[in-house]
């Protein structure tokens, strides 16, 4: 199966690979996995005091589409509020990367990862 140019670009030059200190209060961590393909994704957000996502990092074990989906979403969430980040839909990711139907679950994984990261941050701050 041929990957789109955008998937290849993110796959070959993934943005924001890495990790933040999990114990840091300003960090929210989301971990998700897709049973159907065995992909695992860890996505972290660093949130400023006024509730804006300043930075994001990810580590993904999976196919090109899963890596591209997580790389793209870390770029998208930067500068967004938590609510704006939650409004990102997997269909936006799938459309941007021109994912074929069999790879839609990779974009769902990225959406679920950001939701889990926001939930973790909110839980840390008792919201």
């Amino acid at each position: 199966m041929a990957y789109s140019d955008k998937v290849m670009d993110h796959y070959e030059n993934p943005r924001n690979v890495g990790a933040f200190e999990k114990g840091d209060d300003s960090v929210g961590t989301g971990m998700v996995g897709a049973p159907a393909c065995g992909d695992v994704m860890k996505l972290q957000i660093k949130v400023s005091e006024d509730g804006v996502i300043e930075d994001a990092k990810f580590k993904t074990y999976g196919c090109g589409s899963a890596i591209a989906s997580s790389s793209l979403i870390t770029e998208w969430v930067k500068g967004k509020s938590l609510d704006e980040a939650l409004a990102i839909k997997n269909t936006d990711i799938a459309e941007e990367l021109a994912l074929p139907p069999v790879k839609i679950h990779c974009s769902i994984l990225a959406e679920d990862a950001i939701k889990a990261a926001v939930a973790d941050y909110k839980q840390k701050h008792g919201k």
Binding site: M31, V32, G33, A34, P35, A36, C37, G38, D39, V40, K42, K59, Y61, H105, I108, L109, D112, A113, A116
Partner: protein, 177 residues
């Protein structure tokens, strides 16, 4: 063998509907059924009869493949109970399990980068132990506790382990051949 297409896979082979299965019995029931419907026996039959035989042969093989694999058998038992294993949609695995998955993938990548086949084989043995353990859990969730949620979770976990097995196999193959 009857041509009743409504009976479930277990009934088709005259086996009790449970996860713990006698594989020798399954194999012999399959061989008997497959021989009965083999297309070679219908070369001189009418077209309609040939078509039915082909459908029965397909059905017998599909049932056999499903019951032979522990994951497919568990998924099928859950399906019969009206439970979806949600392997395509449920991404919220327990955090500790996902963390362990990350560590597994790192260990495989490290061993592959170091061209350490012995290490990969050690990981493979460890993985087989983990698979056995999960299958035991799955059996007790299905056959003893009728805990469908726990069984569906075990099926999802096993899918990740299948992926690890594949990754280890790929790494060994890349290093040896």
């Amino acid at each position: 063998m009857s041509t009743d297409f409504t009976q479930d896979h277990f009934a088709l082979f005259n086996l009790p509907r449970r996860f713990a299965i006698d594989t020798a019995l399954l194999d012999s029931a399959w061989r008997t059924a497959a021989a009965e419907v083999h297309p070679d026996r219908f070369v001189t039959a009418q077209d309609a009869e040939k078509r039915v035989a082909l459908m029965r042969a397909t059905r017998v093989n599909e049932a056999y493949q499903t019951l032979k694999s522990p994951v497919a058998r568990a998924r099928y038992l859950l399906q019969l109970a009206g439970v979806d294993t949600a392997e395509e949609t449920n991404t919220s695995m327990p955090a500790a399990f996902l963390m362990a998955q990350m560590e597994w993938r790192e260990a495989i990548a490290d061993a592959r980068a170091a061209a350490n086949v012995d290490q990969l084989e050690a990981l493979s043995r460890q993985l087989r132990g983990d698979v056995k353990e999960l299958e035991t859990e799955l059996g007790s969730a299905l056959d003893e506790q009728a805990d469908h949620a726990a069984a569906a979770l075990a099926v999802r976990k096993l899918r990740f382990l299948e992926k690890l097995d594949q990754e280890i196999g790929d790494a060994i193959e890349a290093l040896l051949y």
